[in-house]
Subunit: 183 residues, 2 copies
DNA sequence: CTCGCATGAGACATCAATGTCTCATTCGGG
DNA sequence: CCCGAATGAGACATTGATGTCTCATGCGAG
């Protein structure tokens, strides 16, 4: 069977998202390849995690592109972004907790680009008067990461319905928990 | 020097929160004890993590008590709770990502009690008309965990000021990102 | 002061994960 | 059909963390 790098990475992401301490052998089994082959293509766990990081970055940027975050009202852009980012929320949650592994090195430049676009989106919303300015754009970005991860966990563990994901994340991030008369 | 179990646990929490893969020897050094002594009191990494889990649960319940979450307006109770929970947000973030280690076992009963009080708080707020009802109490609880963790990360990594923690978390959770005329 | 107990330091065996190697098999292209 | 490249299965050595043991030291209680 031909080795499909992307298939393997997706299987690895799926498993590692659920159990971050999974063995390379378990990853190999989950991906349907032998441990030897896995090692031929990813020289060690670090290389695998780095490849997953690249994948996560690529998917995030794809989501940012697909959501056209630089266009239209910031509020709508955020809605589109969460919708597009749902599919990579799990991977994002994994990388979010795993990033500390590369302590001492500089963070992957891809994250900086993503952070830039994300904070840019929130800053744009603040300048247009859509978003409140007492919460910094950096914090809103961080909160988006956190809520995506929390939403992913909630769905994975069955504490929330999968089809409610976008509504949960978007509404809480944008509108908060307090009930209001009309929007 | 006398062995202070709580001191050691706090040092371990402080280190493991930053680097979840730290060695037992690193933990021992960070706690200022020898590896042998650490092992005498915590038989293995699992036992240490479990002790940290107990500590985290105790601190969460202490925060819930101190915040008197069952009293007064739910909105005010949430504010008090976040204020009280700030000090254990880092530990919470660590346990949040580490809980998967005990896969296969039933979750610690303490978490169920905490979840119960937390969802109870949000449910109470929904019944009193303070909180919107299209976001489930379970999701609001999960989101609180996520925002506490995100806030902890943001502060740790210098992306937000430490003294802004409570404001950031409370305001986003309750009020959301959208700017409004008046509260 | 002296005794006893806990600790620190280090050595040691163990264990699990990992990286590598070999060899048979299989799949695909020519 | 045949050959070559890649894969799967398994063995093997290595590495790093870990659990345990011993012994000397130091601190506190009496």
């Amino acid at each position: 069977m031909a080795f499909d790098r992307d298939d393997v990475l997706r299987a690895a992401a799926e498993l590692l998202t659920r159990r971050a301490t999974a063995t390379m052998e378990e990853v190999a089994r989950a991906a349907g390849v032998s441990r030897a082959t896995l090692n031929r293509h990813f020289a060690g766990r670090d290389a695998l995690v780095r490849a997953l990081e690249d994948l996560g970055i690529a998917e995030c940027e794809a989501a940012l592109d697909a959501a056209r975050v630089e266009e239209g009202a910031a509020v709508d852009a955020v809605r589109r972004l969460v919708r597009e980012a749902e599919s990579c929320a799990g991977l994002l949650a994994f990388l979010y907790s795993e990033s500390q592994l590369f302590e001492g090195e500089e963070r992957h430049a891809g994250w900086a680009r993503i952070d830039e676009r994300l904070t840019g989106l929130f800053r744009r919303g603040q300048e247009s008067g859509e978003f409140r300015i007492d919460l910094s754009a950096a914090w809103l970005s961080e909160a988006l990461y956190g809520l995506l991860a929390a939403g992913s966990y909630a769905v994975t563990e069955g504490r929330a319905a999968r089809n409610g994901f976008v509504h949960m994340v978007v509404e809480l991030l944008l509108g908060g928990a307090i009930r209001r008369n009309a929007s």
